[in-house]
């Protein structure tokens, strides 16, 4: 009964802990390790138009939605007195700026910050078969003729699409009928779509931006997107090459003009962009702040920096405690005081392992000899403890001064040892020494050092420290494990050795 209660509690804690962790990792995109950077792009779209006389203007500008390989985490509009409305949803998302009286050159800005996430490939709906374009003569038969040509030179949908692109770039009469005397990319792309649709292949024109650092005055490029029966495939309409390069940012999922302006002349949308490397964690935080402000309000990452660095250490304590439980109750190492090894391990963080062990042994040994000397003076318990404490502090100072003189810097960090703890250890060790003999005292001393070293080695892993700060909810899982170990009734590993005489007969 009690066991079931415990198991349920353990289960609930683990589920909450892992649930939160998975949510932050998968949904909010918190990176699992500290060294991950996010390629971040800031793209600024400049929407310009002019009007010579004052009058109403309405500019509608297509906004990027779910570009494959990227995640949007921030958007800003610089509207300069214009009213701004966001219209449409999903792929037809548009910003509509309007002003009753506008005059002269006008420029509005839309700034979007994206970061590269190659794994982010939003599913696009599977299209229905497109209707065959209904055209008038002579364009109908010209198109028929082009389709036949492409079909003869192709084996499957991909090669058909590539063939259509090649044909659309031709200059013969049949093609000119569609692309005009001076062929532009839009018309060529349109012809490609017509050819593909005549073969009842789902295809559409999209517009994408080629990202390059510090590029200015960039314009959108037309790309062709073809559904090959199982997935969408992208083609460059200029050379028929397949696949969307990693630096292409899909801005619009249609061939329609991105910018439509009513009441003004010479509309133009131009783009400039900048590349930055952001800490992946910051990016995730940013997104979380926007999408789930409640959750991120309770994040440790919102605390002031010095508090954060304090917590990055404090959060290691439960982990250290868990390791102590493991070392004592499962392995069976005996240590001074229950959580002394955790404190010593914390001190090792400052001194490094080897120096830490040497200093620790040095101070304990020196303190112990002082303690044995004080024993002869017949002091009462509390004054004796205070005397040992004072001597410990003086010893620390001495070690620091001597090592500094010798030009060794590590000695200075000795001051970080928890001195009260050390004084108590010396007292306990000396009693143990007298009552149970040096062997027992040294055994426990070594046990403490071994446990501290193990805990220290786990604590200094940067990944561990980062992980606990970013995902403190995993401590719930640690708590669950500690609770579970609280009912561990199996043998300790050292007991397997201790009771070996009893195992002999039952082989």
């Amino acid at each position: 009964m009690r066991l079931r209660h415990l198991l349920i509690l353990v289960l609930v804690l683990s589920v909450i802990g892992t649930g939160f962790f998975v949510f932050k990792w998968q949904v909010l995109g918190f990176p699992l390790s500290a060294d991950r950077d996010a390629d971040t792009w800031t793209v600024e779209a400049r929407v310009a138009f002019s009007r010579s006389t004052a009058g109403p203007v309405k500019a509608s500008f297509g906004l990027p939605t779910e570009p494959p390989g990227f995640r949007i985490f921030d958007e800003q509009f610089i509207s300069r007195g214009y009213g701004l409305a966001l219209e449409g949803e999903g792929e037809s998302r548009r910003a509509v700026w309007s002003l009753r009286r506008a005059r002269g050159e006008q420029a509005l800005y839309y700034r979007v910050t994206l970061f590269r996430d190659r794994g982010h490939q939003p599913e696009r709906p599977v299209p229905r078969f497109p209707p065959v374009p209904q055209l008038e003569e002579p364009r109908a038969s010209a198109l028929d003729e082009l389709v036949t040509r492409v079909r003869q030179e192709s084996a499957d949908i991909a090669t058909f699409a590539a063939g259509a692109i090649r044909v659309a770039q031709g200059t013969e009469g049949g093609v000119r009928l569609f692309t005009g005397a001076r062929p532009d990319a839009a018309a060529q792309a349109d012809l490609v779509i017509k050819i593909l649709h005549s073969a009842r292949i789902p295809a559409q024109v999209i517009q994408a931006l080629r990202l390059a650092d510090d590029r200015r005055d960039a314009e959108l490029e037309f790309w062709i997107m073809v559904h090959n029966g199982s997935e969408w495939v992208y083609f460059d309409p200029r050379d028929g090459r397949r696949g969307l390069p990693a630096n292409m940012l899909v801005w619009s999922w249609s061939g329609e003009p991105v910018l439509e302006v009513e009441g003004a002349r010479s509309p133009r949308a131009s783009f400039s962009m900048r590349y930055t490397i952001e800490d992946a964690l910051r990016v995730a935080e940013f997104r979380a702040q926007r999408d789930y402000p409640r959750i991120i309000d309770f994040s440790l990452l919102n605390l002031p920096l010095d508090t954060q660095s304090l917590y990055s250490i404090l959060l290691l304590v439960p982990l250290g405690a868990f390791l102590v439980v493991l070392l004592r109750n499962v392995v069976g190492i005996s240590t001074f005081g229950t959580f002394m090894p955790v404190l010593v391990a914390m001190a090792f963080r400052e001194t490094q392992l080897l120096n830490g062990i040497v200093l620790f042994v040095l101070i304990i040994a020196a303190g112990l000899s002082i303690r044995f000397y004080l024993e002869r003076l017949r002091l009462l318990l509390v004054p004796r403890l205070a005397a040992v404490l004072t001597v410990v502090v003086l010893l620390m100072a001495l070690v620091s001064i001597v090592t500094h003189r010798l030009g060794i810097e590590v000695g200075l960090s000795v001051a970080l040892f928890p001195m009260v703890i050390i004084a108590m250890t010396i007292e306990r060790m000396s009693i143990l020494w007298e009552e149970r003999g040096p062997a027992e005292a040294i055994k426990e001393g070594i046990g403490t050092l071994v446990a501290a070293a193990v805990i220290y080695l786990v604590m200094i892993m940067p990944a561990v420290r980062y992980f606990l700060l970013v995902f403190p909810e995993t401590l719930l899982v640690v708590l669950a494990a500690i609770l579970l170990l609280g009912r561990y009734t199996g043998y300790r590993l050292t007991e397997l050795l201790r009771f070996r005489a009893l195992a002999g007969g039952d082989k």
Binding site: L381, E435, R436, G437, T489, G490, Y491, A501
Partner: protein
Amino acid sequence: MIRRRWRALQAAGVMGINRRNADYIMPLNPRRNFPIVDNKLLTKERAILHGVPVPELYGHLSTPHEIRELAGMIADKPGFVVKPAHGSQGDGILVVMEQRKGRYRTSGGRLLDADDMEHHITNALSGQFSLGGLPDQVMLEYRVRFDPVFEEVSFQGVPDLRIIVYRGFPIMSMVRLPTRQSDGKANLHQGAMGAGIDIATGLTRPAVAAGNIVLDEHPDTGARISGRTIPHWKEALHMAARCYELAGLGYLGVDIVLDAERGPLLLELNARPGLNVQIANGDGLRRRTEAFDPLAERSHTPLERVALARDLARRGFRADHAA
């Protein structure tokens, strides 16, 4: 290798510390009864109330200035024992063999003057030997003149019997023999030897030292350890069984000394008895507790429990099916 050893220990019914704490001490020993065993003054009081013989208490000290009364308490006693009321594992116990002209000779042969004695008592009073370092009391009691049966298998000090009492039944026992290494103390941690005792017959088995080595010879005297009959064995078992009612603890270690004149005396009780008794007996505690569980369902008088336990011991602690 680890798994095989694990299985072998499990098959032998060996109890580990985790098991003892979680499945025996926690459910069977209610916390509120711990003071009865942790405070030896209280143990003595309760024992007298229940008619369990104990070493006579000469007096106790609670504050340093009471040390002046020490001389009066022990004036006409040649030997005595100084014992912190909350001492654990024999820490802080001072056995005085004789006093002469204000000087005290200990069991270890050291000679203490009044100053040394005062320092020891003050340390004990300020909690040096107690769990958690809390201020303590010091008892002065009768020094046991131990039964000559152990004379040739102990080095100084007082050998004592440890009987594990499970739900009132004495289930396992050993005699702890002081060695030179243990400084005359009957504590396995300090190097004393433990020799298992057959519950049914009171005969000793070959002893096991703290280092887990099985040997049948006392390292200091060279005498054989096994095959000795513990005198007053039935009486000792009966005393141990009565301690169940006395302390109200279902898993108990009872320490008994055998005095040459007064017979078995209750020395102290332990709510967290150690596990080395298993090595001394070459048998697992769990195996035995499981055999007693069906018997413990009904209530018995201490005498009945001793009889049942000896009966079960005669059958090798195999419950009914093997009988």
